[in-house]
């Protein structure tokens, strides 16, 4: 697995160092301009998880997966190395973003807002959700699949809102959004309790494990 991680890191170093650095600074600057800590965390984590995903799409671009998988590795090792590297990159990039957001002159966020335990757990939750959903798509369908999913979600959202506005849908979209909002607000309100942290960590681990199992299942069936 170590060799696979090094392989990815070295292969993409020319992309990572300049682009990843500038990107992290830019997102950090952007995050410092947002007044709501939760919105700042949400946007930063999403943009942060794009970095490892972009790296993994580069293998599609070079069509080099057949060579990587001809080396003495199993498909499980390939997928596991992607998850480990992906998480390591997201954590490093997010740490840079947070530091920049906290230290940038004229920022609208207080340092305590984005470095609090709540914000850190919220960031972990968002990172897990984004990465866990997008990785299986990326592993199986590549860059096209991932973007098709993201665009598809937006189109679906637009269609649902359109139908909802015309009262064609048999359910209330607003009610669903409000319920989700309440659930998140409730989770956020209780995050201070150790039991909730443990519960959240357990859920995130379960989500990551499910995502890894799905990615592995899909990758084992992928013809290279």
């Amino acid at each position: 697995m170590r060799n696979l991680i090094l392989l990815d890191l070295i292969l993409h170093r020319k992309f990572l160092l300049p682009f990843g650095g500038i990107y992290a600074v830019w997102v950090g600057f952007y995050a410092s301009r947002v007044e709501s800590p939760r919105l700042s965390v949400f946007v930063s984590t999403f943009l942060c998880c794009i970095i490892p995903l972009m790296i993994f799409t580069r293998e599609d671009k070079f069509k080099a997966a057949a060579v990587s998988c001809s080396l003495p590795v199993t498909r499980k090792q390939v997928v596991l190395s992607r998850y480990v590297l992906g998480w390591a990159m997201m954590l490093v990039v997010y740490a840079v973003i947070v530091l920049i957001a906290a230290a940038f002159p004229g920022g609208k966020l207080k340092t305590g807002d984005i470095l609090s335990l709540n914000s850190i757990f919220l960031a972990l939750a968002f990172l897990t959700i984004f990465f866990s959903i997008l990785m299986p798509l990326l592993v199986r369908y590549g860059m096209v699949g991932m973007f098709a999913f993201l665009i598809g979600l937006q189109v679906l959202g637009a269609v649902v809102l359109f139908l909802s506005a015309r009262k064609i849908l048999p359910f209330s979209v607003k009610g669903i959004i409000v319920s989700i909002g309440r659930a998140l607000a409730s989770l956020n309100a209780h995050l201070g309790a150790p039991g909730y942290y443990l519960f959240l960590v357990a859920v995130l681990l379960a989500l990551s494990a499910a995502s890894f199992a799905l990615s592995l299942f899909l990758f084992k069936r992928k013809d290279l």
Binding site: N3, L6, L7, I10, L11, K14, F62, K63, A64, A66, V67, C69, S70, L71, P72, V73, T74, R75, Q77, K220, R221, K222, D223, L224
Partner: protein, 288 residues
């Protein structure tokens, strides 16, 4: 002689193409040529051996190990060259080598450097800037530098000049001399196989037509040439394939001696080449 590779009833269905119950063995210390027309399934077989595509059924045992259950251990002893050498093409050769070498315990850096020199490959050159032949040479250098026990070559000589092709064939012959290593070599350049192969496996439309010793094949089979009056419904059944021309016919037989006995002096019986076999068995007429 124990087999280094054993394939049993290997099948793969792509929808528009099916590999059907492919079975053959590659004995230790031999070179096998895998021949067949375009789209016959040669690359599919090699990819299935490397687990690059998912098989529908069948087994592949390499060094006595299952190629899925012991995937990493098996692959560490395989040197491979794909028909299209795809690497991260913006990297220099020395950097590409630095990516691949750590995966192999038996990586021989001195041998790799020597091969680079002998193949005229500049380590500082960017992979994308190499010609197809040079890319193939680089893939070969990687495949030959870790003391692999099984070397899988998918169309390795395409794009190579005749001088280097001969050089490569000599190297492959040298590799199997200690009788512990084997080579599976897919190619359209059948003359290469006539020089070095010990056995030939012919695949057509996803099915193995035959898998046999090369010398036996070339000794036993023949090309018959005779007048069109000799080619009837009955005699056509004796042939693997034939071609009728204005002034006579040519036909492929798997028993040249029997054909001589049957037709006597009225036909000429020529020695067969692998190219003849491929031609008659893929493009020759089937009906009189």
């Amino acid at each position: 002689m124990p087999n280094i590779l054993e394939i049993r009833n290997l099948s793969k269905d792509y929808g528009d193409f099916k590999l059907k119950n492919v079975s053959f063995e590659l004995p230790r210390g031999t070179i096998m040529g895998l021949i067949g027309p375009n789209g016959a399934g040669k690359t599919t077989v090699i990819k299935l051996i490397l687990n690059l595509i998912r098989r529908d059924s069948g087994t592949v045992r390499i060094f006595g190990l299952d190629n899925l259950g012991d995937e990493a251990a098996v692959k560490s002893r395989i040197g491979f060259v794909h028909d299209t050498p795809l690497f991260y093409d913006r990297l220099r050769l020395k950097n590409l080598k630095a990516q691949v070498a750590p995966f192999y315990e038996k990586w021989d850096e001195n041998l790799f450097q020597r091969l680079l020199r002998e193949f005229d490959l500049p380590p500082g050159k960017i992979f994308a800037k190499l010609s197809r032949g040079m890319k193939m040479k680089f893939a070969l250098a990687l495949a030959l530098s870790h003391d692999a026990d099984l070397i899988l070559l998918d169309e390795p000589t395409s794009g190579l000049d005749p001088v280097f092709r001969r050089d490569l064939l000599s190297r492959l012959s040298a590799i199997i001399q200690d009788e512990t290593k084997s080579v599976l070599f897919s190619t359209h350049v059948t003359s290469d196989l006539e020089r070095i192969a010990d056995s030939i496996t012919f695949i057509r439309d996803g099915e193995i037509v035959f898998s046999t010793g090369k010398d036996d094949l070339l000794d036993r089979w023949g090309v018959i040439k005779g007048g069109n009056d000799l080619l009837t419904d009955e005699t056509a059944k004796l042939f693997k394939g034939f071609r009728r021309r204005e002034f006579g016919f040519e036909a492929l037989t798997d028993d040249a001696a029997a054909a001589r006995r049957r037709f006597g002096e009225s036909v000429a019986v020529d020695k067969v080449t692998l190219e003849d076999i491929m031609f008659f068995m893929t493009r020759g007429d089937r009906r009189v």
